[in-house]
C-alpha cells in the first residue's frame, strides 16, 4: 500500500472548510498547507466542491458467499461496497454453510482480504446452523483470524429467552455484542408485509409491529439484567424507537440500527404487489418512518446499516408470497441518507451525523479499531469523497452488485460517491472501481 500516494485538494471535511489531505503509507499523512508541501509525486485528486468523510462502515451486509454465489460473492459485494463509499462491511452469518464455526468465518475473512476492496468483518452465528437450539462456538470465532465481535442469527430471531440470555452473557468474555433480529416467530407465521390498513386490503399476511417491539423490550431488559451489550438490527417501528430511547435513559447498553429503506419507503408502496418491496422487517407506515428518522437524528438509533440483501431475478420475478425477502443497499445507502436526512427540513442532521452514524458508531459497535476514525493526521487512510450536488438515477443493471433487487430503480437520488480510499489505496476514482494493480 505504501506505493499509493494521493493529494486530495479542496475537499470539505464533514462539509466544513475545504482543505487538502495527503494520503501516504496507508495513513492520512498531512492536512492543510502541509499536505501539498509534503505531496511530492502524489497523484492529485481535485476534490473542489466535494465532502470528505471517513470511510463508511456497514454493520449489516449479506455477501451470500459461501453458498449463494448466484446472488453475490465476497468479490462482487465488496466492490459494490467500495462504490457505495464503504471501507468496511460486516458479512452476515446466514450463508450456506452458516458462519457458525471458526473455519467458515476465517474463509469469509480471507476471501475479503484477497478481494481487497474493503475490510470484511465476518459476523458469527449465535446458534449452530441458526437453528436457535444451542450456542455456536462463539469463543472460537472470536479467537480466530477473523476476530469476530458481532454475533447474529440475522434472518432468524434468537427467540428463546434463555438462549438469548446465555449469548448476551457469554460474549462479554471477548467484548462481543449480540445483534438481534427482533421478530417474535409465533406472531409472524406466514407474514409477508406490515400488518395494518394496507395488508388488510391486499389480503397479505401481516407482520405486526408488536412482534418486533416485544423482542426489543425483552432483550433490553435481559441486557440490563446481565450487564451486557445488545444491538438491535434493522429497527423499523415507532414503538421500538420508544423502547430503545427508554432503555438508553436507564443506562442500558443498547445500540440500534435503521436501514436506508426504512427511512423512506412505506407499506403503501406494496399496493402494486411488486416483490422488490418485500423485505424483512417489512416496510412500515408513514408514522413509523417519521419516528425512525427522528430517532436517528436524536441518537436513539445509533447507526444506518444497509441490510444489503441481494437475490437473483427468479427469486423476485414471481408472486409476492413466493418471493424472497430483501433489497440491495450498498450503492444507494449514502444517497438515501442524504436525501432523507441531510437534505430534509424536518430533522437536524448534517455531514458530521452522516460520519457518526455510517462510520464511527458502526465501527465502535463492531469493535473495528482502525475504521470510523477522525479525519486527522496519523489516522488510517479510509476516506470517502462525496459530491453532494450530483444527482443520479438508479438503474439496477448499472449497479456493481451482482443482483438487481434494488427498491430504488428509476429513482433520482442526490449525492454521489466520487472516490473511496481503503488503507490509502484508491478503490474508487471518478465513481469507477479501481482494480488492484500488481
Amino acid at each position: 500500500m505504501s506505493a499509493h500516494r494521493y493529494l486530495i485538494r479542496g475537499a470539505a471535511p464533514l462539509g466544513g472548510d475545504p482543505t487538502d489531505l495527503l494520503l501516504a503509507d496507508g495513513v492520512i499523512a498531512a492536512t492543510g498547507a502541509e499536505a501539498a508541501a509534503q505531496a511530492g509525486d502524489a497523484q492529485v485528486v481535485d476534490a473542489a466542491g466535494l465532502v470528505v468523510l471517513p470511510g463508511l462502515v456497514d454493520l449489516h451486509t449479506h455477501l451470500r458467499e459461501p453458498g449463494r454465489e448466484d446472488a453475490e460473492t465476497v468479490l462482487s459485494g465488496t466492490r459494490a461496497a467500495a462504490v457505495g463509499g464503504f471501507t468496511c462491511v460486516h458479512a452476515m452469518a446466514n450463508t450456506q454453510p452458516v458462519a457458525d464455526t471458526a473455519g467458515v468465518v476465517e474463509q469469509v475473512w480471507r476471501l475479503g482480504r484477497d478481494a481487497g476492496w474493503v475490510d470484511v468483518r465476518p459476523v458469527g452465528a449465535v446458534t449452530v446452523g441458526l437453528a436457535g437450539e444451542r450456542l455456536a462456538e462463539l469463543g472460537a470465532m472470536a479467537d480466530s483470524a477473523a476476530r469476530v465481535r458481532v454475533f447474529s442469527d440475522d434472518g432468524v430471531c434468537v427467540s428463546d429467552p434463555v438462549l438469548m440470555r446465555r449469548a448476551l452473557e457469554y460474549v462479554k468474555a471477548f467484548d462481543g455484542v449480540v445483534a438481534q433480529h427482533a421478530q417474535e416467530p409465533r406472531l409472524t407465521e406466514g407474514a409477508v408485509m406490515n400488518e395494518g390498513v394496507v395488508s388488510a386490503e391486499l389480503g397479505l399476511t401481516g407482520w405486526p409491529a408488536v412482534a418486533e417491539e416485544s423482542i426489543v423490550a425483552r432483550d433490553v431488559l435481559l441486557a440490563e439484567h446481565v450487564g451486557s451489550r445488545v444491538h438491535i438490527c434493522h429497527l423499523s417501528t415507532a414503538g421500538s424507537v420508544d423502547i430503545v430511547r427508554w432503555a438508553k435513559s436507564r443506562g442500558i447498553q443498547v445500540t440500534a440500527e435503521v436501514t436506508p429503506h426504512h427511512l423512506v419507503l412505506t407499506d403503501e408502496i406494496v399496493r402494486g404487489y411488486d416483490p422488490q418491496f418485500k423485505v424483512n422487517p417489512p416496510l412500515r407506515t408513514a408514522e413509523d418512518v417519521a419516528a425512525v428518522r427522528a430517532g436517528l437524528a436524536d441518537g436513539t438509533i445509533d447507526i444506518v446499516a444497509t441490510d444489503h440483501a441481494p437475490h437473483p431475478v427468479e427469486d423476485k420475478d414471481c408472486e409476492f408470497d413466493a418471493a424472497a425477502f430483501g433489497m440491495t443497499g450498498l450503492e444507494t445507502a449514502l444517497s438515501v441518507v442524504i436525501s432523507s436526512m441531510v437534505l430534509a427540513d424536518d430533522v437536524d442532521f448534517g455531514w458530521a451525523d452522516v460520519a457518526r452514524t455510517m462510520s464511527a458508531a458502526p465501527a465502535a459497535i463492531g469493535r473495528v479499531a482502525d475504521q470510523g476514525r477522525p479525519l486527522a493526521v496519523g489516522e488510517p487512510a479510509h476516506v470517502t469523497l462525496v459530491d453532494p450536488d450530483a444527482r443520479w438515477t438508479v438503474v439496477p443493471r448499472e449497479l456493481r452488485t451482482a443482483s438487481d433487487n434494488t427498491p430504488f430503480a428509476g429513482r433520482e437520488l442526490p449525492g454521489r460517491v466520487v472516490a473511496t480510499f481503503y488503507g490509502g489505496r484508491a478503490t474508487v476514482l471518478d465513481g469507477v472501481p479501481q482494480e488492484r494493480t500488481a
Binding site: 389480503g203 397479505l204 405486526p208 404487489y273 414471481c318 408472486e319 408470497d321
Partner: protein, 331 residues
C-alpha cells in the same frame, strides 16, 4: 376496463354496465338455444392453481355459451412447490394463443402480477386470489340482490339504500373484501359481523360498519344477509386458534332458525358456497324460501358471461351500441 382484478377498481358506471350486461345474458339463458356467437374463435384459459370446481365450471360454462374455446389448466399447489414459475406457466399459455386468462391462485396479488409485470398481454380475470379479491363473486352477489330488491326496475340501477350483513371469517375472506368494495360503490350499506379474531387489523378504515354482535345486527332488519364459509381447521391452535369450538361459533355467529325468524321473511339469505351446514348456516336457513344460494350459482354464469364479453368482444363490435342491445341483436 382491460382486466378485472379487483372489485375496488370498478366505478359505479362500470359495475352497473356489467350487471346490465349480465341481465341481458341471463335473458338469453332462458331460451332453448343458450349459445351466443360473440367470442367465436377466442380462447379462454382457466388457470387454476387452487382447487375450485364450482368457480372453474362457472367460468367454463360462461365462456362456452359465448362460443369461446376453453382450455382448463389445473396447476395445484404454489408455483414454487411445482417447480415452474407463474411467469413461465402464463407465458406458455399465451404462446398457445390464450386471448384471456382466468386465474385462481392461493397467493394474494397473483392476478395483479400477471396483469402488470409485462409477462403476458392478454386480459386477466381474477377468479379469486388468496385473501384478497374475488370480483366476479361480488358481482354475482350484487346482481342477485339487485334482481330481488329492484325487481322490474333493475336495469340501470344500483343498490343505494340497501343494507347488507356480511357474517363470518372476514379475515381470510376474499369474498368479504370484494363485497365491501362493490356494495359500497353501488351505494349499499354494509355491516361486517364477526368475532374480533376474524377481522383484520385495519378493518376500521373500510367503507362499512363492523359489529361483533350478530343478534343486534339481525334485529336491525337488513335487506340481505351473506354468510361466509368458515374453515373448520381455523379453530385448532395449528390453524390459528381463531375461536374456541365450532359449537361456540355456531351459537354466536351461525344463522339458525331463531335468527332467520328475527330477520323476517323478506331478507335474502345468501352464501358463496360451499356451505358448512350446521356451522355458519343451519339447514333450516339454507333451505328456506328466502335463501337465494342456488340462484347465486345460476347468476354466476350470466355475470361471468358479461365480464368475458365486455373484456373480449372487440371494441369495434360494441361501438355505438349498448351492450344489452348487442346481445339481443346477436341472438
Amino acid at each position: 376496463m382491460r382486466h378485472l382484478l379487483s372489485a375496488h377498481d370498478l366505478s359505479r358506471e362500470e359495475a352497473v354496465l356489467i350487471l346490465d350486461t349480465a341481465a341481458a345474458m341471463a335473458a338469453t339463458q332462458q331460451r332453448e338455444m343458450k349459445k351466443l356467437p360473440p367470442l367465436r374463435g377466442k380462447t379462454v384459459v382457466n388457470l387454476f392453481f387452487e382447487d375450485s370446481t364450482r368457480t372453474r365450471i362457472s367460468f367454463e360454462a360462461a365462456a362456452k355459451r359465448l362460443s369461446a374455446d376453453v382450455i382448463n389448466f389445473s396447476a395445484k399447489g404454489s408455483s414454487v412447490s411445482k417447480g415452474e414459475s407463474l411467469k413461465d406457466t402464463a407465458q406458455t399459455l399465451q404462446a398457445m394463443g390464450a386471448d384471456a386468462v382466468v386465474i385462481r391462485h392461493a397467493a394474494s396479488g397473483a392476478p395483479h402480477r400477471l396483469a402488470t409485470s409485462g409477462w403476458i398481454d392478454a386480459p386477466v380475470i381474477n377468479a379469486g386470489d388468496g385473501k384478497h379479491q374475488h370480483p366476479t363473486q361480488a358481482l354475482l352477489d350484487a346482481y342477485t340482490m339487485r334482481r330481488h330488491l329492484r325487481g322490474e326496475d333493475a336495469i340501470g340501477s344500483d343498490l343505494a339504500g340497501f343494507r347488507v350483513l356480511v357474517v363470518g371469517d372476514v379475515l381470510h375472506s376474499r369474498v368479504a373484501r370484494s363485497n365491501v368494495d362493490l356494495l359500497h360503490t353501488l351505494g349499499a350499506h354494509v355491516t361486517l359481523v364477526a368475532p374480533p379474531t376474524l377481522l383484520p387489523v385495519g378493518v376500521g378504515t373500510w367503507p362499512c360498519e363492523v359489529s361483533y354482535d350478530l343478534d343486534a345486527a339481525v334485529a336491525a332488519r337488513p335487506d340481505a344477509i351473506m354468510m361466509l364459509r368458515v374453515q373448520r381447521e381455523r379453530m385448532s391452535s395449528a390453524g390459528g386458534g381463531f375461536f374456541p369450538s365450532p359449537q361456540e361459533y355456531s351459537r354466536k355467529y351461525g344463522l339458525d332458525g331463531a335468527r332467520l325468524r328475527a330477520l323476517g321473511p323478506d331478507a335474502l339469505v345468501m352464501h358463496p358456497g360451499p356451505m358448512n351446514r350446521g356451522l355458519e348456516i343451519s339447514a333450516e336457513a339454507a333451505d328456506s324460501a328466502q335463501a337465494v344460494i342456488l340462484e347465486q350459482v345460476t347468476n354466476g354464469v350470466a355475470v361471468r358471461m358479461a365480464v368475458l364479453y365486455l373484456l373480449l368482444a372487440g371494441a369495434d363490435d360494441r361501438a355505438g351500441v349498448s351492450t344489452p342491445e348487442l346481445v339481443k341483436d346477436s341472438v
